[in-house]
């Protein structure tokens, strides 16, 4: 019922050679780092944006260039991750480029922070639709195809704001917490299908929009145990592990790479 290699060196289980991956949100530093890491570990990787903002498209394109430079197949697609039709298009593109998709990384990120009184219900919905709804859609459509294949890995990328609150973060924090608990629920739902569902909980990471200005940044640097923000590449290792055969028995978990931010009282 499960194909485990007992023979062979332990390190072989981490290789992604011959696998293919789709990374949504490769237009932000965490998604981009994950996409490049998967490619380095051997996977072909298609990347997509979170929204159709021009600056996201530019980053996604350069990420695809980096993937090609590693001699892997790949593509970049500008999408609005909250639209079902765009996820269908992404799934079709991936199917035509790669055949099957083995790994889906949901690194959706639409940064948004406002005092609650200033949040229109439309803006709340937009934040939820992209940051949480978009992950739902990708799991349903691309993950659903994995269930049919009988194997797959879904990796949702969230941050400490899925576990801790932040003033002005009602919508963003709620969406991130939603991603984490959706991860657990879907992991159970698909526990016997060969598809695992896990999350990476990243720390306060350089270049992520939610950090805001310099003042916030300096305050974070004073408080964090390492006295610095996380670098996006610090999630590379766990992304490869979770995507690989080495993590076959791990599902429904959030793995935190947050520089000690959550150990603090």
């Amino acid at each position: 019922m499960h194909a485990r290699r007992k023979d062979g060196n332990v390190l072989e289980g981490f290789s992604l050679a011959g696998k293919s991956a789709v990374v949504i949100g490769a237009s932000n530093p965490l998604g981009r780092a994950a996409a490049i890491a998967l490619a380095e570990a051997g996977a072909n990787v298609g990347v997509a944006t979170t929204t159709r903002a021009k600056k996201e498209e530019v980053v996604a394109n350069s990420c695809a260039n980096e993937i090609w430079a590693l001699d892997r197949k790949g593509f970049a697609l500008a999408i609005d991750a909250s639209l079902e039709s765009d996820i269908d298009a992404l799934a079709e593109r991936a199917a035509s480029e790669f055949g099957e998709v083995d790994v889906l990384v949901n690194a959706h990120d639409l940064p948004y922070a406002q005092p609650i009184g200033d949040i229109s219900f439309d803006d709340w919905r937009r934040a939820m639709d992209v940051n949480l709804g978009g992950v739902f859609l990708a799991c349903k459509i691309i993950g659903g195809a994995m269930v049919k294949q009988g194997k797959g890995r879904i990796i949702n990328v969230a941050t400490v704001l899925g576990e801790r609150g932040m003033a002005n973060g009602t919508a963003y924090c709620a969406a991130q917490a939603g991603v984490l608990n959706m991860t657990r629920a879907l992991a159970l739902e698909w526990a016997r299908t060969g598809v695992t569902v896990n999350a990476i909980g990243a720390g306060w990471t350089e270049g992520m929009g939610i950090i805001g200005g310099d003042e916030n940044r300096q305050q974070l640097e004073r408080y964090l145990p390492y006295k610095r923000l996380a670098k996006p590449g610090e999630i590379r290792g766990i992304a490869v592990y979770l995507a690989s055969d080495a993590a076959e028995y791990l599902t429904g978990q959030v793995i935190w790479i947050e520089g000690g931010a959550l150990s603090h009282a």
Binding site: M1, H2, R4, K6, N9, V10, L11, G13, F14, S15, A37, E40, A41, G42, T183, R184, A185, A187, L188, E189, A191, R192, G203, P225, Y226, A230, K231, E234, R236, G237, I238, V240, Y241, S244, A246, A247, E248, Y249, L250, T251, G252, Q253, I255, W256, I257, E258, G259, G260, L262, S263, H264
Partner: protein, 273 residues
């Protein structure tokens, strides 16, 4: 360096406690396959010698040392023996532990001594090993040969409780917060993380039957010892350099749910107004 090269542990030295059998043996072999030399320790000599033989088959060195982790002088001697043989310690896996007398008893029936043995085996032993090893890791970090990696083996019972399971759950939970405190206190010289295994019967029929073959585990099966190998290598390697004070639960989905992992799955249609 490519992301996969960072997994290599070439010429690192790892101490694995409770390495005579079970998960400790599997993790010893995996660390050796990744390139580390292994100090194989537990109380039963024949078992650690057997594990040492398996480590040597991978081409790495093995030093079997008998040690009772609940006795600090025995721990200190084991650490001295390690330094005498290899001159350094890069990785410490605190895996020794398990149920002790008093498991399944009523609280009233647990003697002072029984309680202490439980806590000593599953918490204090790891504390003694960390206390003895960290100065060596600090020295290495100061000479620029890298931070030490400490991997503590807790349990699902460190995160959730069990009926009539007192000293084990308390000790394994204590090990979690001890590890977090370590990670915050010495971020410049060590990293300390935890593995929480689910149900691993080591192929023993009695355990497989007791755990009903894993049919209540969301994935529908029990864990295989060698499945702990990759995550142990990951936590010991440069791939996890920013990870500190964290728990990796490897349990086929067991802790993702609550009381009824997969059985309780209602289907309720959306109400139309």
């Amino acid at each position: 360096m490519s992301v996969l090269d960072k997994l290599k542990l070439d010429d690192k030295v790892a101490i694995v406690t409770g390495a005579g059998r079970g998960l400790g043996r599997a993790m010893s072999i995996a660390l050796a396959e990744a390139g580390a030399d292994i100090v194989v320790t537990a109380r039963t000599k024949t078992q650690i010698e057997e594990t040492a033989g398996l480590v040597r088959q991978t081409g790495r060195k093995a030093l079997p040392v008998s040690c009772d982790v609940t006795d600090s002088s025995s721990v200190n001697a084991m650490v001295e023996a390690t330094v005498a043989e290899f001159g350094r310690i890069d990785i410490l896996v605190n895996n020794a532990g398990g149920y002790t007398a008093g498991y399944n008893d009523e609280l009233a029936d647990i003697s002072d001594e029984t309680w202490r043995i439980g806590i000593d085996t599953n918490l204090t032993g790891a504390v003694f090993c960390c206390r003895a090893v960290i100065p060596h890791m600090t020295a290495a970090a100061q000479t620029g040969t890298g931070r030490g990696k400490i991997i503590n083996v807790t349990s699902g019972f460190g995160l959730r409780a069990g009926r009539n399971n007192f000293s084990y759950t308390a000790a394994k939970a204590g090990l979690i917060n001890f590890t977090r405190a370590l990670s915050m206190t010495y971020p410049a010289t060590i990293q300390a993380n935890l593995i929480a295994p689910g149900l691993f019967p080591h192929g023993q029929k009695a355990l497989i039957d007791w755990w009903k073959g894993g049919k209540f585990v969301p994935m529908g099966r029990l864990g295989l010892d060698e499945e702990l190998g990759p995550i142990c290598v990951f936590l010991a390697s440069g791939l996890s350099d920013y990870m500190n004070g964290q728990i990796i639960v490897l349990d086929g989905g067991g802790l993702a749910g609550g009381q009824a992992p997969t059985g309780f799955a209602p289907v309720i249609p959306m109400e139309v107004a």
